[in-house]
Each structure stands twice: as C-alpha cells, then as structure tokens.
C-alpha cells in the first residue's frame, strides 16, 4: 500500500477524535447525526472549510466552567463565528443531558448537569460567565 500523506493522517486522527467525547470532533459528529448533515454541510454552517473542520475536530471541547473563554479562544484561532460554534456545542450538550449521558470527566460536566446539582448561590454572589456574555462575530 502507498504511504499515507500528512493530510490523510490528520483526517484519520480527526475521525478517531469523533469517538472521544473530550474532543470537538465528537461534538461535531453528534451534531451532524442529529441534524443529518454531511461534513461539507457542517463546514458550511460554520462558514468555514472542510479542512478547518478537520483541525477544529482535533481541539478539545470547551470546558463547562470556562465555556465562553474556550469557545472564543478556539474561534479566534480558526476564524470561526463564536455564536455558531457555541450554538453547536450547546445543542449537543443539551441532547446529551436529555439522554442522561454523563459528560466527560475532569470538571467538564455540562452546564445542564451543573444546573441540577449546584447549590443555591449565596446572596450577593454573581456568576462569572454565561452564554449571554458571548460576543457574536
């Protein structure tokens, strides 16, 4: 067989990342399944190219407790609209929460799960981030 090219190796890795909930690739494949989108259609909905989607797939998914910050960091690097990526991640997280599937460990539990278990905030304390903080591009 012929030697794979660097691009093929990366594409393969991105597909492998689709099976790992820690990666954006997993988020994308869940979204595509749910919305019945092709890879090209996903790229289109993110207003980017398929090769950028491959690279995005290899990024770790945003942490629940740094959601806005993480999404902005990813979008800034790949020149993707923050609101579009955030909406996709949130959409998949909500589906997962409804299915009752646990989110990846290491403090990345989804906001919906956190919303159920978080104790009532004390008077005078304000939360640091919310989706409403996300700027749109």
């Amino acid at each position: 067989m012929t030697d794979p090219t660097e691009t093929q190796v990366l594409t393969y890795a991105a597909h492998r990342a689709q099976t790992r909930p820690e990666y954006l690739g997993w988020i994308f494949v869940q979204y595509r399944k749910s919305e019945q989108l092709t890879e090209a259609a996903l790229a289109e909905s993110l207003a980017t190219t398929s090769s950028t989607v491959v690279r995005l797939s290899l990024c770790l998914r945003p942490r629940a407790d740094h959601f806005a910050e993480d999404v902005q960091e990813i979008c800034a690097k790949f020149n993707v609209a923050v609101d579009k990526l955030a909406a996709i991640v949130r959409f998949v997280e909500s589906i997962e929460a409804l299915r009752g599937n646990p989110q990846p460990a290491s403090g990345d539990a989804g906001l919906l799960m956190a919303a159920r278990s978080r104790p009532k905030p004390r008077m005078g304390k304000r939360k640091k981030h919310s989706d409403d903080d996300l700027p749109t591009t």
Partner: protein, 204 residues
C-alpha cells in the same frame, strides 16, 4: 515532533494543555502525528497500517485529553513518551489478536478433532452433527443479516479474508481514501458483530 525543529516545542504545548488550552491538542497532533506514525511503522514493518494508525493516534489523543499522565520531571521527552505509548498500544493490539487466534484454534481443535479419534463411526456422527449445527448457525446468521452486503462481509470473514480492499469492494467504497475505507470496513464489521452478539450469540 519525533524530529521537531525546536525540542522545547513539545514542552510548551504540554504546558498549554495543562493550563487547559483547547487548541493545543490540534497543534500537537499536527506537529507529531505524521512523524510518529512513520517512526512506529518502522518498528512494526509487517503490521497492518490500520493497527499502527490506531495505536499512534490513540496515544496522542489520550495524552492530550489527560496531559497529567506525562511528568516532565522524569527526564523523558514528550516525543519519546508518546512514542512509547504508541508502541505499547500497537503491541497490545497484536498480543490481543494473537491470543484471540490461539483461543479460536484451540476451541476448534477441542470441539472436533479430539472426539473424532475415538471411533470412526462416532466421528462421522459428530461430523454430521457439527455440519448440521454449522448449517443452523449459518441460517440463524443469515436471518439476522438481512442486508446482502452484510452477508457477503460475514462470508468473507468466515473465509479468513483480512484485506481491507476485499471488504471495500463489497461495500463499494474503493473510491474513498484508504483511511476512510478502513474506517468504513471496521464500522461495518463492528455493526455485524454487534448484531450477531445480540441475536445469535457468541458461537457464530
């Protein structure tokens, strides 16, 4: 990164991963994966590329998801750490495959050959019984696998076929890149295995 220009590049990415940088994984994969695949392929020259790619990719993706598993203070560079992890993944896969084959061969020998030696007549009866049982199993499998493509894939596997090309031809995906072909073939095989486990049991 098996041959990165700057040896500190790996450590910088490691620090970024530890700090929770979400894009560092993409940079590390882009930097290290290709040279690592080549390096591990050289260590396992006769091993299927699919197995090498899985082992290397899993090692890098595992590490990026849990960067704390690498301790920079132990004096092992990150590229060496990942190379060892990839090598171990491939070696484990090969070991599991070997064990599986040995188990299958032993099961086959003990179920037929051992008893046949007792008496030729008994042997014939057992062979007939075995043939009937196999036929029943085959029918049961065919009842579960309604899709003719699945049936063909299952038959190929029974015949001992292992080449991706053969399965890709059945699936009609020869036009796809090899990596995609492997992925699709594996997916088809896994789906069939799952169906059979659910409806027929492990004997098939």
């Amino acid at each position: 990164m098996s041959a990165p220009n700057d040896p500190t590049q790996g450590l910088v990415l490691h620090q970024r991963l530890l700090k929770g940088d979400r894009t560092a994984s993409e940079e590390l994969v882009s930097l290290i994966l290709f040279p690592l695949v080549q390096e591990v392929s050289r260590k396992f020259p006769r091993v299927d590329d699919h197995c090498i790619h899985d082992g290397v990719t899993d090692a890098v993706l595992d590490y990026c998801a849990r960067p704390h598993q690498f301790d920079e203070n132990r004096g092992v560079p990150l590229d060496r750490f990942l190379s060892i992890a990839a090598w171990r993944n491939v070696a484990n896969t090969l070991r599991q495959e070997k064990r599986r084959k040995v188990r299958e061969e032993k099961a086959e020998e003990s179920s037929v050959a051992g008893l046949v030696e007792l008496d030729p007549v008994v042997g014939n009866l057992l062979q007939k019984e075995e043939a009937v049982w196999q036929q029943q199993q085959r029918e049961a499998v065919m009842n579960v696998l309604h899709n003719p493509i699945d049936q063909e894939i299952w038959t190929l596997r029974l015949q001992g076929e292992r080449r991706t090309e053969a399965f890709a031809e059945v699936l009609g995906i020869q036009h796809l890149p090899l990596a995609a072909q492997r992925r699709e073939v594996k997916r088809a095989k896994d789906r069939i295995d799952k169906l059979l486990r659910r409806h027929v049991g492990d004997q098939s």
